[in-house]
């Protein structure tokens, strides 16, 4: 058995090639965000940006929601990438919590206000499949890019890592879809936009152990 270990050492040393150390999670998240935002912008332009986009910029609720979604995406991406670095402080996991709380709180507050303004009898959750489709399309490339970046790291916590990656991609998808979709009804945003993001997170979490494995990393390094 020790002889086997010695053979492994010899094989690893004989095949060693220069590797470029991964950049810090912050830098990698910034690069991911740059590429993803360019794509989300292109999707928004292709699907036609909502006509009232200029006037919505004066709506503080909309601006806070969009900024919080964007910051949630960046923070979740940084945390996801950091979880693939052995020995990185776990405190980074707290990073997305604040923008996420602001984002959900903002939408939740709008829901409460709508509820009080129009009453429960008029508060129906209509079907808005286009919201879901636009969020998924806008989040597609960020998702793929995130998975590719995460696969270069160590699969220490695959489920958590991909859930954070899913949150990051979903938040940017939401950011893009709100630039396209003209509806500002809070319950629609809550159910169809944020529901899609959370669904994406859940799916990503379940897929974690299949996409991020030591076996695939070791095979790729061979």
């Amino acid at each position: 058995m020790t002889a086997d270990t010695n053979r492994i050492l010899e094989r690893l040393a004989a095949g060693v090639e220069p590797v470029r150390p991964l950049a810090t999670p912050w830098r990698r998240a910034a690069a991911w965000c740059g590429v993803s935002l360019a794509y989300v912008g292109a999707v928004a332009v292709t699907m036609s940006v909502r006509r009232d986009v200029i006037s919505t910029l004066s709506d503080s609720g909309f601006v806070v929601e969009q900024m919080a979604a964007l910051l949630t995406g960046v923070a979740a991406a940084t945390a996801a990438l950091a979880t693939t670095i052995p020995g990185y402080s776990r405190k980074i996991l707290l990073l997305p919590l604040l923008p996420l709380a602001v984002w959900l709180g903002n939408v939740g507050q709008s829901c409460v206000q709508d509820w009080m303004a129009i009453g429960p009898q008029n508060w129906a959750i209509a079907e808005h499949w286009p919201c879901l489709v636009v969020t998924i399309v806008a989040g597609a490339l960020p998702s793929v890019a995130m998975v590719l970046m995460l696969r270069r790291g160590a699969p220490l916590t695959p489920g958590l890592t991909l859930a954070l990656g899913g949150l990051a991609a979903g938040a940017l998808g939401h950011f893009g879809s709100r630039l396209v979709h003209p509806l500002d009804a809070s319950v629609v945003v809550l159910v169809w936009h944020i529901g899609t993001v959370l669904g994406l997170c859940l799916l990503a979490r379940l897929a974690g152990r299949h996409f991020l494995t030591w076996r695939s990393l070791v095979q790729a390094a061979d």
């Binding site: 492994i8 690893l12 990393l217």
Partner: protein, 186 residues
Amino acid sequence: MIDHGASNDRLAALMRAAQAGDAGAYVQLLQDVTARLRRIVGRQRQFLAAEDVEDLVQDILLSLHAARATYNPRRPFMPWLLAIVKNRLADGARRYARGPAREVHVEDLDVTFLAEMTNTVTEVGDPEALRQAIEALPAGQREAIEMLKLREMSLKEAAAASGTSVGALKVATHRAMAALRNKLTS
């Protein structure tokens, strides 16, 4: 502490050189790390046999190699290594816990049989007659025989699978064995 710091610096320097493609530095690093890993894994997994400890050490070495790009040259080496060790030990523990359920233990017999005793042919009877006799059993007894004797399930597993009690299974098995013995010897 000073020794640990100096050792950590030396390992970090070796890892930086290895990341740059220096095979000699990589051999030194791996040899040093292997000795440490044997101590760490042996201490944390005292209940494991030596070959299982060595398997874990090899797993960790392969993981270290595969993840070497994740090492930040400006950070200390040991926390990075220990995070991988902790993760791989947890994976190993999960595998170890699952192992017995998936393994079939067989006698460690020689491939060839020199002793005359081992070459005697055992009377196995007529398998077709046995199959027919089992099929002719009442449903409850047949199910008990299939689960406990053919599929080698434990009494608990068989009771859970069939929804009956362990006692009922024992009785059904006893009656089934008696019926089979009668049928096959008559």
